[in-house]
């Protein structure tokens, strides 16, 4: 299976990365190369094998559902490209 230019455009859109027409061509080649490499995995018989979700053989710990942190809006906002009145500012999303 190889990835064509249109597919690159589609996944770039999903990943929210702008890709120029020219780059789509290059990326199609590079991504197809990676895909050709990983295709080898289809040859492995994995019938009855459950996917490994964690190498740590333990149950994830639970904690009480309580607030443990907060009250630091200035710290949260300090690295924002744009903020105002305690909010992150983004381009208008509703007309």
């Amino acid at each position: 299976m190889s990835i064509d230019k249109d597919t690159v455009g589609k996944i770039a859109r999903l990943a929210r990365i702008r890709v120029s027409e020219e780059d789509k061509e290059t990326l199609a080649g590079e991504l197809s190369g990676i895909l050709a490499m990983v295709e080898k995995l289809n040859a492995v018989d994995t019938k009855g094998v459950a996917p490994l979700t964690s190498v740590v053989q333990m149950k994830l710990p639970m904690r009480a559902d309580v607030v443990t942190d907060g009250g630091i809006p200035e710290k949260i906002l300090q690295n924002a490209p744009e903020h105002s009145a305690g909010f992150f500012v983004v381009p208008k999303v509703v007309e």
């Binding site: 990365i17 702008r18 990326l27 991504l31 740590v56 994830l60 710990p61 490209p81």
Partner: protein, 491 residues
């Protein structure tokens, strides 16, 4: 007296305790060395002023007899660890100027033990790379050069700045993170020792995430025992990381020097892969003999799914990366490139903020996770991962530790191996299997190639049995007597 920058951490701590020199002198010597080695580009952000101030505090504690366990030792901090008030970039333009309002658990623990950060060490962008040539802050240069060849070599990656700093004697130790070999491979390329502990041993809280089921902090130093000192400081349970494991942290240094008589060392036959440098294969045989002479029992073992590890990694790591890096949207932190609307702002921000390799991995990850391909690629890779993990568990029925090469070649020149991404990926062929299985791995420098470059071997241990790695690694180090200096320092 030996130059202060050439001391081991262990010797420096003894010297500080005996008041042979002060922490200020020790840190000062490393700042001077760093300044004359700036062309290596080890640091993205230097923190010499705070290092000097911390050294003064350490000296006051030594004078008062209240020194901390690793007080006054200058180290390099990989710029993937969030450090409160100090720019943290992950070597990416998208995080240029990001100043974390909090400290990663690991760097905080090290600070509390008196370790002094000299700066934030350069790395491959978001730790994605094996040569430290994907950094938005420039390549790191290996202090080693080939005999009679003046070309600059790569330090390996992703923790290239950390490894080069320790090899160039501008830091006594360093932190790294290892997702598929990012500690072990640069340690081999730079002729130093490094350990990636068991997944879950060190907290990932505050470490910029790449592939969360694989990422694990670890250390670099010039000796195995120095790594033991650093790892003890870094390791431990952290309620802020749900995959950190609540088991006691032993005194790793105590394991160094222990006898390896009767230790069963497994040699996996599948690691004799085509294309591996003949010198490295010969060194591997020599390493086997060294451990045998020290009393170990050598057993051949089989890890039959080794040949699928690289492929498994290049599905799982990009998949997790595409998910983790979704947070860089130009809204809450990092760089923003404006667009006509919100979607365009996201797309422009990410197009301009991420480098080529990072985008490649996000895109391939997005593809393997997308509807229609999820089961064929992502789930199949996770099933094969289970088989890789099972291989190790089976092998450990017959042995206590595995000995393998660390990397298939010595350090290469900047610009070599860049024709296509897959050639570069092959660098991690020996380190990725242990990463996939979450096993601890240690790199130890063992010899030099014919053209004068360091070569290393890797020890892989059982989960949470890093002590065995320290014991075996120390024995290997004693036998190998690796004492060559990089050309940078030999003059």
């Amino acid at each position: 007296m030996t130059k202060l920058t050439h001391l081991t951490i262990k010797a420096a701590l003894e010297g500080l305790k005996k008041k042979e020199f002060t922490a200020s002198e020790l840190v000062g010597a490393h700042i001077a060395a760093s300044e004359s080695a700036r062309h290596l580009n080890c640091y993205i952000t230097e923190t010499f002023d705070s290092a000097r101030a911390q050294a003064k505090e350490a000296d006051a504690r030594y004078a008062a007899g209240k020194a901390l366990p690793l007080d006054g030792i200058p180290i390099a901090m990989k710029d993937l660890f969030c450090t409160e008030g100090v720019q943290t970039t992950a070597a990416s333009n998208i995080l240029r100027g990001f100043v974390p309002p909090y400290e990663s658990t690991v760097s905080g623990k090290m600070k509390a033990d008196g370790l002094i950060s000299m700066g934030k060490a350069n790395l491959d962008e978001f730790a994605m790379g094996s040569s430290n040539t994907t950094s938005a802050f420039g390549n790191v240069i290996n202090p080693w050069k080939r005999k009679g060849d003046n070309r600059d070599l790569v330090p390996g990656g992703s923790s290239g700045g950390s490894a080069a700093a320790v090899a160039a004697r501008i830091a006594m130790g360093a932190t790294g993170t290892d997702t598929g070999g990012s500690i072990r491979q640069p340690a081999a390329f730079c002729g130093i020792a490094g350990i990636k502990p068991t997944y879950g041993r060190c907290s990932r809280f505050g470490v910029v995430a790449f592939a969360s089921s694989l990422d694990q902090p670890g250390s670099f130093a010039r000796t195995v025992e120095d790594n033991a000192l650093l790892l003890r400081s870094m390791a431990g349970y952290d309620p802020k990381d749900s995959t950190s494991v609540n088991v006691p942290v032993p005194d790793y240094a105590a394991a160094c020097g222990g006898s390896i008589k009767g230790l069963r060392v497994g040699v996996p036959k599948e690691y004799r892969v085509e294309g591996t440098n003949a010198e490295i294969l010969a060194l591997w045989d020599k390493g086997v003999e060294m451990l045998k002479d020290a009393g170990a029992e050598i057993v051949e073992v089989s890890l039959p799914h080794t040949k699928y590890a690289l492929e498994t990694y290049y599905v799982i790591a990009p998949a997790e990366c595409s998910s983790n890096l979704a947070r860089y949207d130009g809204v809450r932190f990092g760089q923003r490139s404006a667009g006509e609307n919100l979607i365009e702002t996201y797309e422009n921000t990410r197009a301009e903020g991420f480098g080529r390799e990072v985008k490649r991995r996000i895109l391939i990850g997005t593809y393997v996770l997308s509807a229609g391909y999820y089961d064929a690629y992502y789930n199949q890779a996770r099933r094969v991962r289970k088989l890789i993990w099972q291989d190790f568990i089976d092998a450990y029925q017959k042995c206590d530790v595995l000995l393998t090469p660390t990397a298939p070649t010595p350090a290469f020149a900047i610009g070599e191996n860049t024709q296509d991404p897959v050639t570069m990926y092959l660098n991690d062929i020996f380190t990725i299997p242990a990463s996939m299985a979450g096993m601890p791995g240690m790199g130890v420098p063992v010899g030099l190639s014919a053209d004068g470059l360091p070569l290393g071997l890797q020890l892989i241990g059982k989960p949470f049995e890093e002590e065995t790695l320290f014991k075996a690694g120390h024995a290997l180090e004693l036998a190998a007597k690796f004492d060559a200096l990089p050309q940078l320092l030999a003059a």
